[in-house]
Symmetry: C2
Subunit: 614 residues, 2 copies
């Protein structure tokens, strides 16, 4: 598909679920993250003043990436909502960062002030190419959104330097990043500059991966499993999503990008195979991925525990959405967007508080009294982390989200995610009204007359969809999951769509042994959960009636968000003993559920997504 990019400022979300998140991101998440970057020394690190005796913390190996990610977000934010003061600060920051660039183009605060002889020597763990990639993404965002070249030019010099180090040619060395990111960033740099060398370098890193599975073990002197880094075999031969989930998904994004730009179908085929591995066997119902805290990694098919031993890192959920968006753009298939919505409305929104300044690193589907904190797992959202990738991922994700709502594929203007919003292009204006996915009715109103082809995704979550054009039932042609319309639109023309998308009890594949006998409440992409705060017993005591009705309850205590009430049982059998033959007793009760992504926003509480059913 030959898609044209929808300019970021042309989409304004007006819905009840995402628009407030974007607003909060610009108002709170980005300024707070900038402040944290200042407070923790991440920004001053670019002054390169750190010395052994400075009494300050030595720049960590991933600090540059945090600053880069917020800077990328600031570029999006300024495009959406200009702010003179912020733009001035942005320019200062860019000046500072560029001032840290070395004469040869190298730019990394850690390896410039310490371990100076270790440049490119610890690719498996030291995040050097990862930081470079994020700096490049930030520079491209500044160029594309704000037309600023300084950062971009510096990053081209950096990329040129990296290109002089790694590659097949005489005098270059073998190397791949332990944490993928540079691949997709180089494709962005190529797209922004047209310099083919960057695409070739991205391709090199993709092709080099897995060619030498023992590379990282040899390099580090420690017997790493190459699967952790997706380096166990060449990427085109990989079929199971393995290892560190964020790394894996960044790699797949890079593969998709390189495949798209070079026309290499073998990469797209591998992406489709890996996509199936994830979404058909290794993904939480929330769109979370990476089911073990250990190595923050994918594990085995259908291994999807719910409690604190699981993981489902916020960044991995975001990365899945980014991969889904790419695959949908490349293939024109709506199915990928079902998963994008699954991740977006559930794990991604769950990872950040409504206030915009608190974050989950891992997103469990069950919170109970036995919580064990592994890695960065917490009972409640935290302000910041020692390794703070998740907060800065939110900064740049929500601010670029408006770009994913629509596509132009050269033929059709496509509505990908049918949430309420207004699209204003030079020649088109379209408004989407409704409360999707909290409601099943979507209205699309043409706000500017014109002749263009319009395609609207029918969410795969719906069993069927009834369309009306200006009130009359119509049956549009449906291709690849998109309903197609082609007419000479008049101002005020209206397409309405009613989805058959009721509340449902959803069950796992029977091999998900943890969830045998359990069901989760969903409506379309929206996953629900139960919090102790709405019940007079612990939510682990609840059983849901397989034949329950679902009653929507407006007053959930969460602005714009409805709860749903179901019929169930509350079980009790407390003997105080660890093991006993006492038979549990139960009483009927009303079960209240709220959207999972809004949990833990009304105070600390236990929670469960999966309910035993009877």
């Amino acid at each position: 598909m030959n898609s044209k990019k929808i300019p970021l400022p042309s989409v304004k979300l007006t819905d009840k679920m995402l628009a407030p998140r974007i607003e909060q991101c610009i108002k709170v998440t980005i300024p707070t993250s900038l402040q944290k970057c200042r407070d923790t020394g991440r920004i001053d690190a670019f002054k390169l003043e750190w010395t052994e005796n400075s009494g300050k913390e030595c720049p960590h190996i991933y600090w540059d990436s945090d600053v880069a990610k917020v800077l990328e977000a600031v570029a999006y934010s300024l495009a959406i909502s200009p702010d003179e003061e912020l733009e001035k600060y942005y320019d200062e920051l860019v000046d500072l960062i560029v001032s840290a660039q070395q004469p040869d183009g190298y730019l990394n605060t850690h390896f410039t002030v310490t371990e100076k002889d270790q440049r490119w020597q610890k690719l498996n763990s030291k995040h050097e190419l990862y930081c470079a990639g994020h700096l490049m993404e930030a520079a491209v965002a500044g160029f594309e959104q704000l037309g600023k070249r300084k950062f971009l030019d510096a990053m081209c010099r950096y990329a040129d330097y990296i290109d002089s180090v790694f590659g097949e040619a005489e005098g270059k060395r073998y190397g791949i990043p332990g944490h993928e990111e540079i691949e997709l960033a180089l494709v962005k740099l190529y797209r922004a500059t047209g310099v083919e060398r960057y695409l070739k370098l991205a391709e090199y890193f993709i092709n080099a991966r897995g060619r030498d599975p023992e590379f990282f073990s040899r390099e580090s002197g420690y017997p790493f499993e190459p699967e952790i880094y997706q380096a166990h075999k060449p990427v085109r031969e990989q079929s199971d999503a393995v290892g560190h989930a964020v790394r894996a998904l960044y790699l797949y994004c890079g593969m998709a990008d390189v495949g798209k730009e070079t026309g290499d179908e073998t990469l797209i085929t591998a992406c489709k195979r890996l996509w199936k591995s994830i979404t058909e066997k290794r993904m939480y119902i929330s769109g979370g991925v990476g089911s073990s805290f250990f190595h923050e990694a994918f594990t085995t098919d259908y291994d999807l525990p719910n409690d604190s031993r699981s993981y489902a890192e916020s960044c991995a959920g975001i990365a899945l959405a980014l991969f889904a968006h790419r695959m949908s753009e490349i293939t024109g298939q709506a199915g990928y967007l079902d998963t994008l919505e699954r991740a977006l409305f559930n794990v991604i929104c769950a990872g950040i508080s409504l206030s915009g300044d608190e974050f989950f690193y891992s997103n469990f589907l069950e919170m109970n009294d036995n919580f064990v904190s592994y890695n960065f797992g917490n009972r409640t959202r935290q302000k910041w982390f020692f390794c703070s990738c998740c907060p800065t991922s939110y900064c740049r994700f929500f601010t670029q989200l408006p770009r994913m709502i629509w596509s132009e594929d050269g033929e059709f203007l496509r509505l990908n995610i049918p949430v309420a919003n207004v699209l204003t292009l030079p020649d088109k204006c379209v408004e989407v009204i409704g409360n999707y996915p909290q409601d099943n009715r979507i209205k699309v109103i043409i706000r500017r007359a014109g002749s263009f082809k319009f395609a609207m995704r029918i969410p795969g979550f719906a069993k069927s969809a009834v369309f009306r054009c200006n009130g009359e039932i119509c049956t549009p042609e449906t291709v690849n999951g998109f309903a197609r319309f082609d007419r000479n639109w008049q101002d005020g023309d209206e397409i309405s769509c009613e989805l058959d998308m009721p509340f449902e009890l959803i069950r796992c594949h029977e091999k998900v042994s943890m969830n045998r006998g359990k069901a989760a409440i969903m409506r379309g992409p929206l996953l629900y959960c139960c919090e102790n705060i709405d019940h007079d017993c612990d939510v682990s005591s609840l059983l849901i009636d397989r034949k329950t009705d679902f009653t929507v309850e407006e007053s959930s205590g969460l602005e714009n968000i409805s709860a749903v009430k179901c019929r169930g049982l509350a079980e009790s059998g407390e003997t105080g003993q660890l093991y006993s033959n006492a038979v549990p007793q139960s009483r009927t009760c009303v079960i209240t559920a709220i959207p999972y992504a809004w949990w833990q926003n009304r105070g600390e509480t236990n929670m469960t997504v999966w309910l035993r059913e009877y």
Copy 2:
């Protein structure tokens, strides 16, 4: 309690569950482990010939302990079943080990051939005092069982040297072992020699622990959580069982031993508190402990997952039995023996194959297709491990088990574990007949006339017990869980006991969230499980009828072991999809269960202990 030790050869087990395990241990486990110790270089390590350029593996930090543990087992084995050739090899081995002792008394293969300047510098992780403790235990066993002094004398010199290094006195240093073991070993050495210095040194290590929680972090330069090593606070202030489970239990054994010998009730009180933490909140129904593979550790109250993320190390199960035995000996309370039986008949026997040469490191309560291997977790038992503590623990556990069956407490001859066996003391001979715990009837027959007081534990698993003396119902006084008898016994006098100990469905405390709505089949201490091999569906599909009958089925395919049949449902709802709204269907079925500890002995198969109930 002033107990006299029952000599090891005086108890001969004749039961169907344990006697074959002991026999297999002597015939297979010990010879195989000795062979493995030879093959892997563990024994040759004592020649101290290793050099950087030898091309051989450098002695690992824990190798000495493996050899010591097998050697300890050989001493027990020779006491039970003399074997001239084995005894000759035993003497050679002792000669070799003693030849590795340094002039100052130090004896450690690793630190003698490498890291020579690191002696006592890495107490947290290098197992130096741990290895010393196991060597001492082995030496004491050889002295007590075989009357051999050479090894014991060498270990006294080692203990004297350690005593010159660690302690409060001028010129001595602060230090505690990262892996406890030396404490209980020093008490054994004290008991064998009467040298009070060893008891004092044990007391020092106990009292020093937790006095400086940051000790290990400072020593290693890495911020370890002191809880992992039970070093977070002084032992008398500890109330939750925390950290590495084997280390914790070895510490508690040492505390109990020191408490007993010094009369320090504060240590016994702390032991009782920690005992409650374990058995009332942190123990699997199998008697397994340490519910996380991460640090092989205790976690939080009621956190008892069943799958491959859990742990329940074989060594920890054995250590719990050792702690239980000590506590019962000290307090005279039968309740501790219920837990000893729980561990013995379940997790301990589960960790070793019936063939005696294959081992589980971790003992899961569920094996499914989604198995993930963490640490030493495996789907099937393994012949040996890189860190092979579990096989060598079995060698020394089963061979000393006969000593735990009976006690003499100065007043009563006590039957602790009422399995079939014959006790032959110089002045007494008693036979126990029956098939406990597979059956509820126990017969005790006096085989030699005499006047002595006899006490028989009434297993806490039984709801009640009916006694008969020579066929006549009698109602013995019961104190601390023991039924007491005092008479002038005639040869052939018979006490029979019928326990009310039916098959039951047992449920967890409601906070064990994983097991809400589930039940396990138990009879007395014996836990049952279901294997795929007995069903035409995966065992995760099974539901058990809350009102099921239990039908004993002799032909389980396991010699001497019966299966039990129950009523249930088999559920299926296979759609092939990871998530769907399909409602699972079910059909009635017969559920077959076998004792958990005998699982995976009829081929590789999935398994579950916990069954959903309806």
